[in-house]
């Protein structure tokens, strides 16, 4: 009995000591950063958050790589007004709670600006944190409306409603179909957001939505019933505003059912060609709306695609391009504001918010991109079609 008691006392002593040590550490860390603000470190600390494992890993990895390429370029070319960038990326597994943890880790590291997060629902959660802290955030690809509701958050990609509306307009303008079916994930904010605006815009168009079917996160492996409904309704084009992993199943099952409409997706479909063991022939002629086309001719895109291919042995998707642009947008805004790395994150946020409205950026995902107070970018969408296992401008 005595032994057990002394054991517990010992354990509790160790724990309390460790707690003291922990508290001490955080104190020194915070005093470091404040003294840094006074005397001068010469680098900007930029953090990134996104899923680099899990179902949406392909997006997070692309974003991480896109930012890394941009950061390396900026640093190699003399930095931002002479100051280099330090970049650190944390995983959130496309999970809101883990994203907040990652955010706290980065803040402990001394992050001044956040590029992220990558997917919508974690982004909304983190945006609440950054706005409470007054830390500047730019998301490359968080497309839900709520992502940029706070005035500290801007984005590079289109919002969900914009994608929905633009898709409907594109289908109408190109007269792709008269009977359109929709299948979407009713448990996902991204998917429902795009779907709503698509349906709204479709009312003004010449085509007709003949059938709308839904699925949820728990039922996302069997789409035969939904596809049968769309087939029976005679849909010539199926609009599928959701992510590529489910889309790969939809395409496989549609093929076994011998149902061959035009499949039309939005940016979540980007990545379908990289699903392990997916037969990319099934994705032939699938169309998607995306602001970035890897095979376009301009010098900027060519350079980026070549660097990306050299480093990572694959063709960059739209997310990598958004992320690359995000880093350059941050650079442009910092230069416009005349900021320096010694400013605290809150001071940086105040000046960056103003500068975002002034700057005009030529990037991979759009020419002359500008921003308004809502945090939304102003640029033109492009559509791509998959031909012979590659994205081609449509």
């Amino acid at each position: 009995m005595k032994k057990i008691l002394s054991f517990f006392v010992g354990i509790s002593l160790i724990v309390s000591l460790a707690a003291c040590g922990g508290a001490g550490n955080t104190q020194t860390a915070s005093s470091n950063s404040s003294s840094g603000a006074a005397s001068g470190t010469s680098t900007y600390k930029i953090g990134g958050i996104g899923p680099i494992t899990g179902g949406a890993a392909i997006y997070g990895q692309a974003v991480q790589r896109g930012i890394q390429i941009a950061v390396d370029e900026i640093n190699a070319n003399g930095g931002i007004n002479g100051s280099k960038i330090e970049f650190r990326f944390e995983d959130d597994e496309h999970d809101a709670e883990k994203a907040v943890n990652a955010y706290n880790v980065l803040k402990g590291w001394g992050m001044q600006i956040l590029i992220g997060t990558v997917t919508s629902s974690p982004c909304i959660q983190v945006a609440a944190e950054t706005s409470a802290d007054n830390l500047f955030q730019i998301t490359p690809s968080g497309s839900a409306v709520e992502c940029v509701e706070n005035d500290t958050v801007f984005r590079v990609c289109f919002s969900d409603p914009d994608q929905g509306a633009a898709s409907a307009k594109y289908i109408n303008d190109k007269k792709l179909a008269t009977k359109v079916g929709v299948i979407y994930d009713s448990s996902d904010v991204y998917s429902t957001g795009v779907r709503e605006k698509f349906a709204e815009e479709a009312k003004k168009c010449d085509f007709e939505i003949v059938e709308t079917t839904e699925f949820t996160a728990d039922t996302k492996t069997d789409f035969t019933t939904q596809l049968q409904k769309l087939k029976s309704a005679g849909a010539e084009l199926v609009f599928m505003p959701f992510y590529y992993s489910e889309a790969a199943i939809v395409l496989t099952q549609a093929n076994t059912m011998d149902y061959k409409p035009i499949f039309f997706g939005v940016d979540g479909l980007d990545g379908i060609l990289t699903v392990e063991n997916f037969d990319i022939k099934l994705a032939e002629d699938v169309m998607l709306l995306t602001p970035f086309i890897a095979d376009s001719d301009d010098q900027l895109t060519k350079n980026f695609v070549n660097t990306y291919k050299r480093l990572y042995k694959e063709v960059p998707n739209q997310f990598a391009a958004d992320a690359y642009d995000a880093a350059y947008i941050v650079k442009a805004a910092l230069e416009d504001a005349g900021a320096n790395p010694n400013m605290s994150y809150s001071e940086l946020c105040d000046v960056l918010k103003e500068s975002m409205l002034n700057i005009k950026v030529n990037g991979l995902t759009g020419e002359n991109m500008t921003w308004n107070e809502s945090g939304e970018p102003n640029k033109d969408p492009k559509a791509v079609i998959i031909k012979n296992g590659a994205y081609v401008g449509a």
Partner: protein
Amino acid sequence: MAFFSYLISGLSLGAIYAIIALGYTMVYGIAKMLNFAHGDVIMVGGYIAFTCSISLGVNPYIATIISALGCMVLGVLVERIAYRPLRGAQSLSVLITAIGVSYFLQNVALLIFGANTKSFTSIINMPPLKLFNGELTITAEAIVTIIVCLVVMALLTLFVNKTRLGWAMMAVSEDKGAATLMGINSNATIGLTFAIGSFLAGIAGVLLCSSYPTLTPTTGAMPGIKAFVAAVLGGIGSIPGACIGGFLLGILENLSKAYISSQLSDAIVFSVLIIVLLIRPTGLMGKKQIEKV
């Protein structure tokens, strides 16, 4: 015609539930425990088949057999390591252990294979059957799954009723203590049950991934729960009950998806379970048991 198409995809889904439910029901019938790790054994089966047939290029049918045998070994190991030491313990401890095993298997798969979705190539390389000028398409997977399910059920029923090992199983299920006194090795019999159940899980895994071509570490979780519901619906412990429960559940799920709401299909399925259990607490085919005090 659409109705028949929904019905057939329901039957095919139900057949998969039924094969999984057979594993649940046999283990429950004999060991009186709920093996919640059963769904994850299916996932392991899927990964074994995936690795063999796609990464190593083994013939898909041989890969299926390897996968079933692999699952069998896994099931027996799990029984030996995790469940047998708890044979005399309260049923709650065994249940919690089963949940632990389930998470263990999921996380091991996560470590080995990563979380990225893998696209499974169907092992059944046959063209779909087209009827009524192509208006009704029945996939080869659906036909094979339904046939396999019925064959498995028939074989199991024969095995249990006509062989000495089957009689031993029934005896252990009836009264373990008395069976042991009669010279039956009850531990070996329970091990055999796990072996058969897990062998079926391997086959179910391959069929599941062939029909719904996606593979992640959580692939087995939802079908596992649904199959458990099917087993309870049919009357847990009863072999034909598991099949009937599985088919009913699959058809119900698909028809409610098609005609009521694809969002509410799960809610409807589970409400039916509650209603059936309110009216017949032992399930559709379950025997009424008199509790001896």
